[in-house]
C-alpha cells in the first residue's frame, strides 16, 4: 500500500477553504482506494491542531523556500524527501507555485500531471479524471492506466465523502528547498489592500462603458461596500485605465465567484470565457441589445452612472 501527498495552500497559518475541501476529498479517496496515509505539504508553519478535523494524515511537511522556485536544482531536496515516502499520487488545488513544483515531480518521476481536475474515479484498470476545458465551457474525462499520477484540481471540484474515523496525532517536519545563483528576486509587488481577484466571493467588473479611468470611484466604492474584488474587461486594461491583473476573460484571470456584477461591459465571448464559472451574474448596461444580458441572471438596462450610486445608497441604508 502506498501513500498520497497533498499540497495545501494557507495564509497566516489558515488553511484555505479549497485546500480544506481537498483534504476532505483526500481522506475519502484514501479509504475508497486502499491507500495507506496522507503526507501533507505546505509552505507555512502549521499548529498541531490545524489538521484535527482530517483523518489519515501521517505527517505535515513544511517546505521553506529561501529564494525563487524556478529550476531543478532548487526543487531537488523535495524530490529526495518524496522518494523516501513511497507516494503514489499527488493532489493540489491549482496554483502557480505548486504547478511549477508538480511539473518537476511529473518530469522527474515520469508520471502524468492532469490539470483542472473536477472529478476523480477509480476504474478497473486505472483512473478516470474529469477536467474542465475551454475555460469551463466543456469537460473532458480522460483515463490513465498508471497507478501513479498528479492531479491539479480546479477549485470547483466535487467529490463523494466517506465517513471518517477519528484523528491521528500527526508529526511535523521541515524541508528547505535549495538556492542557486542564477535566479534573483529584484522586487515583490504584493497585491495590497484589495481582495485578490481569483479568491473573491463577489466581483464587480467594469468595462469600456465607464469612458475614463477617473470614473472608477463608484466601482471601487461599490466593491468596498460589498467586500468585493474589482475586475475589468481587456480593453480597459489595454488602455491602462486599470491594472492588468484586473483583466478577466479568455486571456486574463478566470473567476468563479458566487456573484459577478458586470457594469458597462458588452459581454463579448472572450470576456464570458473568464466569468462563466460565476454562480450568479448581474449585468448593468444601457444598451438593451448588449449580448451580456443573454448570459445574465439579473439584468438592468440603465446608465451605470445612475444605477451604481443608487445601489450603493441602498446598500448603505441597510
Amino acid at each position: 500500500m502506498k501513500n498520497l501527498a497533498v499540497f495545501i495552500d494557507s495564509k497566516n497559518g489558515q488553511i484555505s477553504e479549497s485546500s480544506k475541501r481537498l483534504l476532505d476529498l483526500s481522506s475519502s479517496w484514501l479509504v475508497q482506494n486502499g491507500l495507506e496515509g496522507i503526507y501533507v505539504y505546505g509552505f507555512e508553519e502549521q499548529s498541531s491542531d490545524s489538521f484535527n478535523s482530517f483523518s489519515s494524515i501521517k505527517q505535515y511537511i513544511h517546505i521553506t523556500i529561501p529564494g525563487l522556485v524556478n529550476n531543478n536544482q532548487v526543487i531537488a531536496p523535495l524530490l529526495e524527501d518524496i522518494k523516501q515516502k513511497e507516494i503514489d499520487q499527488f493532489f493540489y488545488v491549482k496554483s502557480l507555485l505548486v504547478d511549477s513544483i508538480a511539473a518537476f515531480l511529473a518530469e522527474s518521476l515520469s508520471i502524468p500531471l492532469v490539470s483542472n481536475v473536477i472529478k476523480l474515479a477509480k476504474v478497473s484498470d486505472g483512473y478516470q479524471l474529469t477536467k474542465s476545458i475551454f475555460s469551463g465551457k466543456a469537460t473532458l474525462t480522460t483515463e490513465i492506466n498508471n497507478n501513479s499520477f498528479i492531479a491539479a484540481f480546479n477549485k470547483s471540484f466535487t467529490f463523494e465523502t466517506t465517513s471518517q474515523a477519528g484523528n491521528l496525532a500527526i508529526s511535523q517536519a521541515v524541508i528547505a528547498l535549495g538556492t542557486d545563483a542564477q535566479n534573483k528576486l529584484i522586487e515583490n509587488y504584493p497585491l495590497t489592500g484589495a481582495i485578490p481577484l481569483p479568491d473573491a466571493a463577489i466581483v464587480v467588473g467594469a468595462g469600456r462603458g465607464f469612458n475614463d479611468p477617473s470614473n472608477w470611484g463608484i466601482v471601487e466604492d461599490l466593491a468596498k461596500e460589498l467586500g468585493a474584488a474589482t475586475a475589468c474587461s481587456k480593453p480597459v486594461s489595454d488602455l491602462n485605465w486599470r491594472p492588468h491583473h484586473e483583466h478577466v476573460g479568455q486571456t486574463g484571470v478566470k473567476i468563479a465567484p458566487k456573484l459577478y456584477i458586470a457594469c458597462g461591459i458588452s459581454g463579448a465571448i472572450q470576456h464570458l470565457a473568464g466569468v462563466n464559472g460565476s454562480r450568479k451574474i448581474v449585468v448593468i448596461n444601457n444598451d438593451p441589445e448588449a449580448p451580456f444580458f443573454k448570459h445574465a441572471d439579473y439584468g438592468i438596462v440603465g446608465d451605470v452612472f445612475d444605477v451604481l450610486p443608487r445601489l450603493l445608497n441602498k446598500l448603505k441604508s441597510h
Binding site: 529550476n71 473532458l140 483515463e143 492588468h244 491583473h245 486571456t251 443608487r310 446598500l315 441597510h318
Partner: protein
Amino acid sequence: MKILVCISVVPDTTSKITLDSTNTRINSEGITFIVGPYDDYALSRAIEIKEQTQAELVVLHVGSSDSDALIRKCLALGADRAVRIDTAALDSYQVAQEIIHYAKDQSFDLIMMGKESIDYNSGIVHALVAHGLSYNHFSPVMHLELDANKLILEIETDSGKSKVSTTLPAILGCQEPIAEWKIPSMRGIMTARTKEIAVISPIHSNFEQHIAAHVVETERLQKMISAEDAESLIDILKSENLI
C-alpha cells in the same frame, strides 16, 4: 542567440464548442483555428528580440499539417523557420516530451510559449519542458528585457507580481502585456512562402486516453429589473444570500 517559440493551434475564441460523433473530441467542422492568443504574445515579443539582437527564431508546433497555414503566418510575422512534430497533441505530458526530445540537442538560449493553451488551459507544458531540459523557468511573464546574458522579467505570482532576474538558457510562459500582437506585412507574407517547415516524426508518449467530453451549458435566469426599480436588486441578492 537562438530562440524557440512553441505555438498551440486552438479554436478561435468566438467558436461555439460542440462535440463530434464520438463524444470524445471537439467537433472541428466549421471552426476557425487560430494560434493560441498567449503563444501569439510570446511570438510577438520573440520577434522584437530577434529584431534587436539578430537572433535566430524558430517556431515549433506539435500537430498535423492542418496547422501549416497558421505556421506560415508565424513565418510571415518574422520567424526564420519552423518545425512541426507530426502528431496530434493529446496531453501536456506528451506535448512536453515531444518538445524536450526535439530541443535537447538544439541548444536554444530562450524558449517561449504562452502561459497556457486556451483549449485545455493546463498551463504546465513550459514547466515540464523546463525541468526536462534543466532550464530556468518562469510563468506567467508579463515583461521581458534582455540585459546582456541576463533576463529581467516581471512575473505574476500567487500573491501579486515580482520582478526577477534570470540567466539563459531559460524557458518562459508568456501573457500580456509582454508585447502587442503583430500583423504580418506584405513582404513578410511573400518571404514566408520560401521559408522551411521541417516535419519531424513524433516519439509518442501520451498517458491520457480521452474517453468522454461534455459541453457545459450554464442556464442563466435572464430576469430583467427595470432601471427605476434598480434598488430592488439589492433585496433580491440579499434574499439569495449572494451578498
